[in-house]
C-alpha cells in the first residue's frame, strides 16, 4: 500500500486521465460503495480515521459531517469543495487539481454519498486556469463513465457536480463567504450558528471541505481507518502536503507523513537555504499564521505541536524569511494583502487593517514614531481575537504582526530610530 496516496499519480508527466486513474486503483472505492455501502458506516469510518480538515483549521472531518441533519427529502443537500486556494504561499490543492483531478471527483462522490448530498460544487480560484480546464474535462469523463450524474453506477444515487469559478476574493476561502458568493451575494461571511450543515447553500444542509481533505476520502475508504492513522508519524493521522517558499534551494510541495519535522521539510525536501542566506523565521502554514524561528525547527508539523509553539500549522506550506529580507517590509506586505481582502463587513477588520497597514508602511518608509508601536499593539489586541471580529480573517491577519512584534521587535525599533529601513539595498 502506498505511503503517499495523494500524490501517487503525480509524476510530473501531465494530468492523470480517467483510464490512468482507474488503472491506479481509482474509482475502486466508488464502485465498491456507491449504492452498496451504508452511509452511516462510511461516516463512522471517516470519524475513526481521525482525518482532520486540511484547509487550515484542522477540524475533525467526521465530526463536521456528523452535524448534518438526516435527509428530510425537502430539497437539495450540497457538498462544496473549497478550491479557492488564495492563502499567500499556499499551492497544494493546485498540485492535485492540475495533476490528478479524478482524485478530487472520487473524493467528492464518496463524501456526497455519505452525506446524502445530491449536488456538488467545486468553488475554484479564478487564476487556476489549468486546474479549471482539467477538472472540467475530468468531470465530463466521469459523467460518461457514470461516476457522476443520475443513477450513478446503476444505483439509485444521483450526484451532480459543477465547477464554479470564483470572482477572486481571498475571503471566499472562508466557507460561509464562499456560500454567499456561490449564491450570487456579496462574499461576506455569515454569523454562526447556524452552521452550513444546518443552513448552508440556499439555506439547505451543506458541507464545505478543502480539496486535500476530500482527496483523502477514497484512500481511507479503500484501506481503512487504521491504515490511515498509521501513515502519520505522531498524533495526527495520514499524510499531508507540505511545502516551502522563499529563499530555499528547492521550493516546492511534497506529500509527507503528518508529524514530519520542520527541519526535515526545510533542510531535506526544500534543500536548505540558498547560499548566502540564513533562516530568520518562517510562517508555518500560510500568511495568516504566526512566525516561528530557527528555534522551532525540530517541532513536528502537527496541529497541536505547532499551536503549543504559538502558531498554527495552517495549510502546512511554509513561507520562509531570510536574514537579508526586511521583516517589517514582509509584514507590511502581508497586511496590505489582508487589508485589501477584507470584505468590509465588520468594523475592526474593515477599518483596523488599513490603519495597521498604513502604520507599517510608514515605519518601513522610515517615518515611524515610537507611539506607532503602541498603536500597532493596541490594534492587534483589538482585531486579533476571534470573537472580536465577524470572522477569522482579521485575527489571522494579526498573527504575523503579533509574532513579528514579538520576534523582530528590535528591527521595528531600529526602523523608527534610524528613520530608514536597515535592509534598504539588500536583496
Amino acid at each position: 500500500m502506498t505511503q503517499s496516496p495523494l500524490t501517487r499519480n503525480i509524476q510530473g508527466n501531465g494530468p492523470t486521465d480517467i483510464l490512468a486513474y482507474e488503472a491506479s486503483g481509482g474509482y475502486l472505492a466508488a464502485r465498491d460503495n456507491i449504492g452498496k455501502a451504508d452511509p452511516a458506516d462510511l461516516l463512522q469510518l471517516i470519524k475513526d480515521s481521525n482525518l482532520l480538515g486540511r484547509g487550515g483549521a484542522g477540524f475533525p472531518t467526521g465530526m463536521k459531517w456528523s452535524f448534518v441533519p438526516p435527509a428530510d427529502g425537502n430539497g437539495h443537500r450540497y457538498l462544496v469543495a473549497n478550491a479557492d486556494e488564495m492563502e499567500p504561499g499556499t499551492f497544494k490543492d493546485r498540485l492535485i487539481m492540475e495533476n490528478d483531478p479524478h482524485q478530487l471527483i472520487e473524493g467528492m462522490l464518496l463524501s456526497a454519498y455519505t452525506l446524502a448530498a445530491d449536488v456538488g460544487y467545486i468553488f475554484i480560484r479564478a487564476e487556476y486556469h489549468l486546474a479549471i480546464a482539467r477538472i472540467r474535462s475530468a468531470i465530463s469523463e466521469a459523467e460518461q463513465k457514470c461516476y457522476l450524474g443520475d443513477r450513478i453506477l446503476g444505483s439509485k444515487y444521483s450526484f451532480h457536480l459543477q465547477v464554479h469559478i470564483s470572482a477572486g476574493r481571498y475571503i471566499c476561502g472562508e466557507e460561509t463567504a464562499l456560500l454567499n458568493s456561490l449564491e450570487g451575494k456579496r462574499a461576506t461571511p455569515r454569523a454562526k450558528p447556524p452552521f452550513p450543515q444546518v443552513s448552508g447553500l440556499w439555506g439547505r444542509p451543506t458541507i464545505v471541505n478543502n480539496v486535500e481533505t476530500l482527496c483523502n476520502i477514497p484512500h481511507i475508504v479503500n484501506h481503512g481507518a487504521n491504515w490511515f492513522k498509521s501513515l502519520g508519524k505522531g498524533d495526527n493521522a495520514g499524510t499531508k502536503l507540505f511545502g516551502a517558499s522563499g529563499r530555499v534551494k528547492n521550493p516546492g510541495c511534497w506529500e509527507l507523513p503528518m508529524g514530519t519535522s520542520i527541519r526535515e521539510i526545510l533542510e531535506v525536501h526544500a534543500g536548505g537555504m540558498q547560499d548566502g542566506y540564513m533562516l530568520k523565521g518562517f510562517l508555518p502554514g500560510g500568511a495568516s499564521t504566526d512566525f516561528l524561528t530557527p528555534d522551532h525547527l525540530d517541532l513536528p508539523m502537527e496541529y497541536e505541536a505547532i499551536q503549543k509553539a504559538g502558531s498554527r500549522m495552517g495549510t502546512g506550506l511554509m513561507v520562509v524569511l531570510d536574514d537579508r529580507a526586511c521583516p517589517v517590509g514582509m509584514i507590511a506586505n502581508l497586511e496590505k494583502f489582508f487589508a485589501r481582502e477584507s470584505c468590509g463587513f465588520c468594523t475592526p477588520c474593515r477599518e483596523g487593517l488599513p490603519w495597521v497597514q498604513g502604520i507599517l508602511d510608514k515605519i518601513e518608509a522610515g517615518h515611524g514614531q515610537a507611539a506607532d508601536l503602541e498603536v500597532l499593539e493596541r490594534q492587534a489586541l483589538f482585531i486579533g481575537a476571534i470573537g472580536n471580529t465577524h470572522c477569522a480573517h482579521a485575527p489571522g491577519a494579526m498573527e504575523p504582526l503579533v509574532s513579528g512584534l514579538k520576534y523582530f521587535r528590535s528591527e521595528f525599533e531600529q526602523h523608527i530610530h534610524d528613520g530608514r529601513c536597515p535592509y534598504a539595498g539588500e536583496s
Binding site: S199, S342, C343, G344, G352
Partner: protein
C-alpha cells in the same frame, strides 16, 4: 423568563430576545449601530460588545456582541468591565478613521446616533494620522440627500431598503474600507419608503433633502405629535416648524399603527403646508370675478350676513377635515343640512367597514398584519392607496421564513440567518387588482382582473371556502378560487385586505363575505379595510346621513364647504351641480377648483396649525396637535365655523358635544389628554429644552423678547418651558432622552424594545364589538374605467408639496393591446374623448397585463373629469406629441463633486 446577571445586577429578561434588546429594555445604555429594533441583528459594527463569562468562576470572560447573543438562564455578562469598555472605545475610534467630523455642517448634527454613541462609548482622543477615504455622491431624487463621506458602513441602509422594504436600486458596492452605498448610477430612489433611510442611517449619509432646503437644528425646531394626512392609516408623525414654515415630518413610533416607518407621501407630502397655493387670507369675489383679499374679521362679518339672510343653507364637510371642524359645520348648518362630503357609494362602503369593525370579525392593526401568514388583497393597490400597509404586508410574507428558522432553532432576531433559510419561500400573498402592483414581486399569486371580475372571484373564493360550487364561474376561475380558499383555510392567521379605492361596493362585500365565512368555520381570519382619507371613518361615524348629491339635489342658495374639493367627488357633474348656488363659502388650505368658484373663501389652518381628532381605518381615534401658531388670519376651521354663528368655545367642548351626541364616538374625549392636563403643574413643551434664539428670532422686527404665543387649546405650549421627555406618548412633541438625541431614543419610552409605549399606545379604538355582521350580495358596477392610484399624485393635499409634485405622472390611459389595436394607437400615441363638450387628450400606455375590457387612468387632478364616468368614447388623437416625461424629474448631479 430567563434570569441573567449583568455586572452583578440580576435581570429577568424576555425569552427569545438577544442581549442587546434585553439590556436596552432594562434601561441599560449600550451603544450600537447595525442593530435596529425592526430589522434585528447582523453583528457587523461590533459596537455593542460586552463580556460574557463562562460561569461563576470565570473572571476573564470573552468579548461577545450583545446583539448576536441569545439570553439564556443564568448567563453572566459585564457591560462595564474594562475590556468591554476599551473594546467599544476602539470600535468607535476605528469607525471614525474615515468619518469627516463635519458635524458643524452636517444635517444630522444634534440628532446623530453616531454622535450619541461616540459620547456614550467615551472615545475622545484620535490617534489616526492617515488620509480619509472620500466618495462621489449621487443624486437620489428630490427627497433624499447623499453624503457618502460620512458613512460608517453599518449596512443598515441596504438592509432596510432591500430586505425590509423590498427595494432593488440601493446597494452596497465594493469591499474593504471602500464600501459604497448607493445606486448603480444617479437617479430617483425607486422605493416608496426610501424616506425612512433618513432615520435608519445612524449618521448623515442619507438626509431629508426637503428639510435641508430650509434646515434647522433639531433643538431649534418646534414640534408636535401629529397624525399623517396622507391616507386613512393614521400614521403617527412628529411635525416640526420654524419661522412659520413646516420644516419636516418624522416618524413617531406607534406600536400598533406605523411602528418605526412611514411612507414617502407621509414624510414629504406634508410640505403642502408651505405651498405657494396656500390660502393665507380671506377673499371675497368681486364684481369682476376676482378675489379681494379681505381682513378676516370683515370676511366673517360678510359671511354671517350671507348666512343669516339665506333662505336655505347647506354644509358639506370633509373626510380630510377633523371631527371637530365637521361637527362645527354640522352645528352651523344643522344636522339635516350637513353632508360629510362623500358620495353615496363611498358612504355605503364606509358604513360597511364600520359594521365590520364593530363585529366579532378580527380587525388587526397595521402592525398586527405583519403576523399574518396568508394574505388576500382584493382590489387594492395597497402601495399607492394605503402605502404604509404595503411595507407591513411585505413583512407578513416573511413569516414562512420565520417558521423555517424556528424549526432549526435560529432566533428570529438573527436577521441574515432567517432570510438565508427562508430564501424566496414566502408566506402566501394573493394580489387581485386591475393594474400592476409593487407587491406583485413578493406575491405568491397575482391576478389582473377588471373590478367586476375581482368581485366575482371574491364571491367564488367564498363559495370555495364553503366547498360549494355555485356553478356560475368558469372552471378556470373556480380552480383559482379553490386554490386561494385552500391557502386561507390552511393558514393560522389569514388576512383579507380590501377597501374603497376602486369605489366598488361589490369587491368590499365579497372580501367581507370571505372573512365572515372563514370565521364561521372557526378560522380566525382578519379583515383590514383601507379607506381614502385621514378621517373617512371618523366623519362616516359622525354623520353618514346625507351624501353630497343629497345636498346638491336640494339646490341650496348658500353652501358652506369645509376643506373639500367637490370636483374630485363630482367629476364631470361639478360645474352643473354648483351652477345654481348663489353663495358658496369655502374654508380650505389650498387653492383648488372649488375655491376658485367660491364667493367667499376663508383661510383654514392645516393639521400643522390646528388641533384635530381623526379616526383611522381600524377605528382608532387619534388626536393631532398644532405644531405652530400660524401667522396672520389662518385659523382652525372649527373656530371659523363657530365664529360664523358668533360662538366661542374651547375645542375640548366640541369633544364633549360629539361624545354626548354620538355614542360610538364617546371615546374621542380620551384620545388624548384635555387642555387642562399638567405634569407637575407644567404643560408639555413643543420646543426642546435646548431651543435657542427666542430673543433673536424676531430681532429684525424688535430686539425685545417676544411673548410666546399662547396655546389655550391643548396641553402643549409654544415654548421650551415645560415638560419634555416625561410627556405621555400622545403628547410627546419630539423623541429625545438624555444621551439619545436621535429617534433611536424610542426605546426609552417603550415598555420593552419594540413594544408598547409605557404610557400606552396613543389613540382609542372607538369601534370595538357590540355589532353583528352578515354576508351580503355582491353587486357589480359595469364600469369600464378604472382609477389607478399613485402614491404621488392621487392625494389631494400632498400634491401641492413642491418636491413631491415633481413626481406626479402626466395623465394617460392604460389599455390592453387589443384595445389599442382596435383604436389604431400604439404606445405613446394620444387618445382623445369628449366630456361636457370639452375635448381631452391623454397619452396611451399599452399594457397587456391589463384586463382586456378595462381602461385605467391615473387618479390625479388632470383626470378628475373621469371620476364618475362609466365609460368614454375614445378616438386616436391627431397631431399628438408625446409630452416630456413628467413625473420623472431630470436627473442632475447636484452635490456630486
Amino acid at each position: 423568563m430567563p434570569t441573567i446577571k449583568v455586572d452583578n445586577q440580576k435581570l429577568v429578561v424576555k425569552d427569545g430576545d438577544n442581549l442587546l434588546q434585553a439590556l436596552l429594555s432594562a434601561g441599560i445604555d449600550i451603544p450600537y449601530f447595525c442593530w435596529h429594533p425592526a430589522m434585528g441583528s447582523i453583528g457587523a459594527c461590533r459596537q455593542c460588545a460586552v463580556v460574557q463569562y463562562a460561569g461563576e468562576d470565570d473572571t476573564r470572560g470573552r468579548i461577545v456582541m450583545s446583539c448576536m447573543t441569545a439570553v439564556t438562564d443564568q448567563a453572566r455578562f459585564s457591560v462595564a468591565t474594562q475590556s468591554a469598555d476599551q473594546f467599544r472605545k476602539s470600535v468607535i475610534e476605528n469607525l471614525m478613521l474615515n468619518h469627516p467630523h463635519d458635524c458643524p455642517v452636517c444635517e444630522e448634527g444634534g440628532e446623530c446616533h453616531l454622535q450619541d454613541m461616540t459620547v456614550m462609548s467615551g472615545h475622545s482622543v484620535r490617534h489616526y494620522e492617515g488620509k480619509k477615504t472620500t466618495y462621489r455622491n449621487q443624486y437620489l431624487g428630490p427627497f433624499i440627500g447623499h453624503e457618502m463621506n460620512r458613512c460608517i458602513t453599518c449596512y443598515r441602509c441596504v438592509r432596510y431598503y432591500q430586505d425590509h422594504a423590498g427595494g432593488h436600486d440601493l446597494n452596497a458596492f465594493g469591499s474593504r474600507d471602500r464600501v459604497f452605498f448607493g445606486r448603480v448610477e444617479s437617479g430617483l430612489l425607486e422605493s416608496e419608503f426610501a424616506g425612512n433611510l433618513v432615520e435608519v442611517c445612524p449618521t448623515g449619509v442619507f438626509t431629508d433633502k426637503t428639510f435641508s432646503k430650509h434646515y434647522t437644528r433639531k433643538w431649534d425646531l418646534q414640534s408636535s405629535p401629529t397624525i399623517c394626512q396622507g391616507c386613512s392609516l393614521g400614521c403617527n408623525t412628529y411635525t416640526s416648524e420654524r419661522y412659520g414654515q413646516l420644516r419636516r415630518v418624522q416618524n413617531r413610533y406607534h406600536h400598533q399603527v406605523n411602528g418605526y416607518f412611514l411612507c414617502d407621501r407621509g414624510r414629504f407630502g406634508a410640505q403642502f403646508v408651505n405651498a405657494e397655493s396656500r390660502i393665507r387670507q380671506a377673499g371675497i369675489r368681486n364684481s369682476q370675478g376676482l378675489y379681494d383679499a379681505t381682513e378676516l374679521k370683515t370676511a366673517i362679518g360678510i359671511a354671517r350676513s350671507i348666512i343669516s339672510n339665506a333662505s336655505t343653507i347647506k354644509g358639506i364637510g370633509s373626510p380630510r377635515a377633523s371631527l371637530e371642524s365637521n361637527q362645527a359645520l354640522r352645528e352651523l348648518v344643522g344636522q339635516n343640512n350637513y353632508s360629510n362630503g362623500m358620495t353615496e357609494v363611498e358612504q355605503a362602503m364606509l358604513q360597511k367597514i364600520i359594521d365590520v369593525l364593530r363585529s366579532p370579525i378580527p380587525t388587526p392593526s397595521m402592525m398586527q398584519t405583519e403576523q399574518c401568514d396568508a394574505v388576500l388583497v382584493l382590489g387594492e393597490d395597497v402601495t399607492n392607496f394605503a402605502p404604509r400597509l404595503a411595507l407591513s404586508l411585505r413583512q407578513a410574507t416573511q413569516n414562512r421564513a420565520k417558521t423555517l428558522a424556528l424549526g432549526v432553532h435560529i432566533p428570529l432576531w438573527h436577521d441574515a440567518a432567517v432570510r438565508e433559510i427562508g430564501q424566496s419561500d414566502r408566506s402566501p400573498l394573493v394580489i387581485v387588482t386591475p393594474t400592476e402592483d409593487r407587491l406583485d414581486e413578493v406575491a405568491s399569486h397575482v391576478l389582473r382582473l377588471a373590478p367586476d371580475n375581482i368581485a366575482l372571484l371574491g364571491d367564488e373564493i367564498c363559495h370555495a371556502i364553503k366547498d360549494e360550487d355555485n356553478g356560475t364561474a368558469s372552471d378556470n376561475v373556480s380552480s383559482v378560487a379553490r386554490e386561494i380558499a385552500g391557502l386561507l383555510k390552511q393558514a393560522t392567521k389569514p388576512l383579507i385586505v380590501a377597501g374603497t379605492s376602486l369605489q366598488h361596493p361589490g369587491i368590499l362585500q365579497a372580501a367581507l363575505n370571505i372573512a365572515i365565512t372563514l370565521n364561521q368555520q372557526n378560522i380566525s381570519a382578519g379583515f383590514f379595510a383601507c379607506a381614502s382619507e385621514s378621517n373617512s371613518l371618523g366623519v362616516a361615524m359622525l354623520d353618514n346621513q346625507h351624501s353630497i348629491s343629497d345636498i346638491m339635489a336640494e339646490q341650496p342658495e348658500t353652501l358652506v364647504v369645509l376643506e373639500n374639493d367637490l370636483q374630485r367627488r363630482l367629476g364631470d357633474r361639478f360645474d352643473a351641480s354648483l351652477a345654481g348656488i348663489k353663495h358658496l363659502i369655502v374654508l380650505d388650505h389650498l387653492d383648488n377648483p372649488t375655491v376658485s368658484v367660491s364667493t367667499l373663501v376663508l383661510p383654514a389652518a392645516t393639521f400643522a396649525e390646528a388641533e384635530g381628532t381623526y379616526v383611522n381605518n381600524e377605528g382608532r381615534a387619534q388626536r393631532s396637535f398644532a405644531t405652530f401658531n400660524p401667522a396672520g388670519d389662518i385659523t382652525p376651521s372649527y373656530e371659523l365655523l363657530d365664529q360664523l354663528r358668533s360662538v366661542k368655545r374651547h375645542i375640548d367642548e366640541i369633544h364633549h358635544v360629539i361624545a354626548n351626541s354620538i355614542p360610538t364616538l364617546a371615546g374621542i374625549v380620551a384620545a388624548a389628554p384635555a387642555a387642562s392636563f399638567r405634569i407637575e403643574g407644567a404643560k408639555i413643551a413643543r420646543m426642546t429644552h435646548r431651543a435657542s434664539g427666542r430673543t433673536a428670532i424676531d430681532a429684525n422686527i424688535s430686539v425685545h423678547e417676544p411673548t410666546p404665543p399662547m396655546d389655550d387649546d391643548s396641553p402643549l405650549v409654544y415654548s421650551m418651558e415645560g415638560q419634555h421627555e416625561q410627556a405621555p406618548a400622545n403628547l410627546r412633541a419630539y423623541s429625545w432622552a438624555p444621551g439619545w438625541n436621535s429617534n433611536q431614543s424610542n426605546h426609552k419610552f417603550q415598555q420593552e424594545v419594540g413594544g408598547s409605549e409605557r404610557t400606552g399606545d396613543p389613540g382609542i379604538l372607538v369601534l370595538t364589538g357590540g355589532g353583528e355582521i352578515k354576508t351580503g350580495d355582491v353587486t357589480l358596477t359595469h364600469r369600464r374605467l378604472v382609477p389607478e392610484l399613485h402614491i404621488f399624485g392621487s392625494d389631494e393635499l400632498t400634491n401641492s408639496a413642491a418636491d413631491l409634485a415633481t413626481l406626479v405622472t402626466a395623465p394617460y390611459l392604460r389599455m390592453h393591446g387589443t384595445t389599442a389595436q382596435s383604436l389604431g394607437v400604439v404606445q405613446d400615441d394620444g387618445v382623445s374623448f369628449e366630456v361636457n363638450k370639452q375635448r381631452f387628450s391623454f397619452a396611451v400606455i399599452v399594457d397587456d397585463s391589463m384586463p382586456a375590457d378595462s381602461l385605467a387612468y391615473p387618479l390625479i387632478p388632470a383626470t378628475v373629469v373621469l371620476t364618475n364616468l362609466d365609460d368614454i368614447q375614445l378616438s386616436k388623437a391627431e397631431s399628438w406629441t408625446k409630452a416630456p416625461a413628467s413625473g420623472q424629474r431630470m436627473i442632475t448631479t447636484d452635490r456630486s463633486q
